[in-house]
Symmetry: C2
Subunit: 288 residues, 2 copies
């Protein structure tokens, strides 16, 4: 049981965790805090939080765990705001999509990653955002990655792990750099491709006709291009190295495919498509 | 009413049309024909066709419309097989995903696009294939593009239009070259990106871990990478010019995005993502 959980930034991610923990009876009181009042009022109305505070000191008072549900680009500033008011035994965790940059921000503010700051990342979400879109089942059978280091407080780590498990998630520990590489490949690169595809088509002269004749596959393929632009702006700038490496690998493979099409190399095309189909089908078999 | 419809190649596309026309009472008899026996027997068992023939002359006997449900790469050979047995009043149509190459094949075989050959392309399908995957509702509220030319027989054109309308589709006429450009942008390019993405990840050293942490968005984004490799091989080789142009445009935009990430140009990123999100959201609003 977490006696008091403070959520800094009550959106889709923080709101869904709050709902799940309440449903599981895993939390005493949930306190909301954030830069703008409207989402906090909405969260209170929806029963997602029990109260909200507009003063950071009051928001952190007696809080056992503070969850940072803020964009990764805001992390350093948020940590600076928290620092003077943090009790020595408060556990900090976050939900940022990049972890190297969060650790960097912590080092800038605290001189190190505080032992009771356990960076985290739930691999879940929708293309929606905001507390209105939150729901208690978001983390059911989803994975949450934690990136503790050797100085991390074991009790803090277990508390954060337990919290996500109560929300229905499977929790996995991973080194920071590996997290950022894996996510660059499986999430950040696909988002770049979806944004770029939609933007490429939108800039064609006959874009009305183009979109008119897009079939069902196109809707699925481009769903993630409806994601929050500000959040993806932050992710790009905070996982630059790993993301640029993945874009380069993808571009090289696309150039190879393009060359095969150009020279009419049917064998190479068939080989690539067959290999990709096998990998995708096997991914689906292994992931229900 | 079409008294007798012959379907050459009874798979997902031909099978679904057969089911829809039967459900609408729009067809007398449906005759199946194809290179291998197994799908024809399956189609007969499932009640998708009324009978099948193993001799092309018998398959075309008394047939009012012949639908070519074969991969675009097989079109020329199939037309050569048909030619000696076609009655002068038989209407031909096809369902190929590329239209320029189909017209070329017809010109090679007949010396021109026969006036009663109306090239067509239903913008519908799933990543499945085969008659087992066929269903009568596949074309409901979907679009079918026909690419007649100035020599096309108006009565044949109206018959093919009527047939697809009976299956629930909206039928649109379009010049061949425009069809191939629009489809390169909305279907062929996205498939190339999905195949290439999955293949890129499958070739990474830690691909097991990579796929393990792929989230829900990844499943949607890569669904089309489970499509039939042979069919996509054919499409690539038969819409080379338009597809290569689209891949180039996409690659240029991806390089621009990558450069913006590299130089940390948040403004450019935000602008691109915002424009893409607006285009995608508006596409969804306009397409239910």
């Amino acid at each position: 049981m977490i006696k008091r959980l403070t959520i800094y930034g009550v959106g889709l991610i923080g709101g869904s965790l709050a709902r799940a923990l309440k449903a599981a009876g895993a939390v005493g009181e949930i306190v909301g805090y954030g830069r703008s009042l409207a989402p906090l009022q909405k969260a209170l109305e929806l029963g997602v939080i029990d109260r909200y505070e507009t003063d950071i000191a009051r928001a952190l008072e007696g809080c056992e765990v503070v969850l940072l549900g803020v964009p990764v680009g805001a992390m350093e500033q948020v940590l600076r705001e928290l620092q003077p008011h943090l009790a020595v035994d408060t556990i900090i965790t976050d939900v940022g999509s990049t972890k190297g940059s969060v650790v960097e921000a912590a080092v800038k503010v605290f001189g190190e990653l505080p032992p009771r700051f356990i960076p985290g990342h739930p691999i879940a979400g929708t293309e929606q955002s905001g507390v209105e879109a939150s729901f208690a089942e978001l983390y059911q059978r989803r994975r949450v990655i934690l990136t503790p280091n050797e100085q991390s407080d074991p009790q803090a780590l277990e508390q954060v792990r337990w919290m996500w498990q109560q929300a229905g998630a499977e929790v996995i520990d991973m080194p920071v750099a590996h997290h950022d590489e894996v996510l660059a490949a499986t999430s950040h690169l696909p988002h770049m491709l979806a944004f770029t595809l939609v933007d490429t088509l939108a800039r064609l002269e006959d874009h009305d006709d183009i979109f008119r004749f897009a079939a069902g596959g196109f809707r699925d393929f481009t769903r993630i291009a409806s994601s929050n632009p500000q959040m993806w702006h932050d992710i790009c700038l905070n996982n630059r190295e790993a993301l640029l490496k993945m874009i380069q690998r993808f571009s090289d493979e696309l150039a190879t495919l393009s060359a095969a099409i150009e020279r009419g190399d049917g064998e190479a095309l068939l080989k690539t498509f067959t290999r990709a189909k096998a990998a995708r089908d096997s991914y689906c078999e292994n992931n229900g």
